[in-house]
């Protein structure tokens, strides 16, 4: 995740001015946020994200939840390791 696309920290004055509490395009915004977290967003999506992610509370919450779930999958889910016996067996079979 490029830090430059992270939602910036809000100041009280910002939030009082224009913070949205309802997102009318939540599914589309979620797709955009997922593309950004996956490193697959277009330039237009990145621009839209930077411009709007400090104004929409549901999108900010979505960003943090999507990032948290992705991080949990990457870091927490145990990765199965190939058993040594299988490794030996494969090498043995191709060397015959």
């Amino acid at each position: 995740m490029d830090i430059s696309t992270s939602p910036r920290i809000l100041h009280d004055t910002d939030s009082k001015v224009s913070m949205k509490t309802h997102c009318e395009n939540q599914q589309e915004c979620m797709k955009m946020i997922q593309a950004i977290l996956d490193g697959e967003a277009t330039a237009a999506q990145k621009d839209h994200f930077k411009e709007n992610m400090d104004r929409c509370m549901p999108c900010i919450n979505t960003y943090h939840l999507e990032k948290c779930v992705k991080d949990a999958l990457q870091v927490k889910v145990p990765k199965k390791i190939c058993p040594d016996a299988l490794l030996v067996q494969i090498k043995d079979l191709i060397n015959r």
């Binding site: 599914q27 697959e40 191709i94």
Partner: protein
């Protein structure tokens, strides 16, 4: 359901190289073997069984060696191997699986019917704190409970770090389908995590 019929063998295994025996073993050891743990993890997430994962990985590596002249040295070995493994899973493993009914076909059908259609409004009340409090096995259980096609895209993207383009090639589907399937899979996963958090008494109220 998984899924579309896997491509014909000829499509993947068209020989383009002419390695001698020494080159074959060099390519195999240097370019294929470093991915064996990722391959095993992928095979396990597909089959949910260690013995079946063993068989699937062994079949895939033997196939890769047999058709090594179809692989160009220095290209994306990991994606090539994953594609072979996925096709072996569909064409070979699934046909002889002792428990084909492990998959909930009705659930897969229901979710697929909505995959390309208008999005169902999804209002997840899953909290960041709940996910952060979960241990790895709890997240893994939620992942494992997804239908195999959805589990697959999450494993490829979030665990193995493939790009959408690589996933499209591995799965033989258009990039747009990768995006929509991933989106749907993540919504399903969040539903499972939310249900689990609720069951375990985590606070799910926003």
């Amino acid at each position: 359901m998984l899924d579309e019929t896997a491509p014909m063998t000829e499509e993947i295994f068209t020989p383009t190289q002419g390695y001698n025996e020494e080159d074959k073993h060099a390519v195999f050891n240097r370019e294929f073997m470093p991915h064996i743990n990722s391959m095993y993890n992928f095979a396990f997430r597909l089959t949910m069984d260690e013995d079946d994962a063993n068989d699937l990985v062994q079949d895939t590596y033997l196939k890769a060696f047999r058709f090594i002249n179809s692989f160009e040295r220095g290209t994306n070995a990991k994606a090539w191997l994953f594609r072979i493994l996925k096709n072996s899973f569909i064409n070979d493993y699934r046909k002889r699986s002792k428990e084909p009914s492990k998959i909930d076909y009705q659930e897969v059908e229901a979710t697929y019917n909505s995959e390309e259609s208008a999005e169902v409004e999804h209002t997840s009340d899953l909290r960041v704190e709940s996910v952060q409090d979960m241990i790895g096995d709890e997240v893994a259980n939620a992942l494992n409970s997804l239908p195999v096609d959805f589990r697959t895209v999450i494993v490829l993207c979030d665990i193995e770090g493939f790009t959408y383009e690589e996933m499209a090639k591995i799965l033989d589907i258009p990039i747009g389908t990768v995006r929509s399937r991933l989106h749907r899979a993540r919504n399903l996963l969040k539903d499972k995590l939310r249900d689990y958090a609720s069951t375990m008494g985590y606070n799910t109220q926003v």
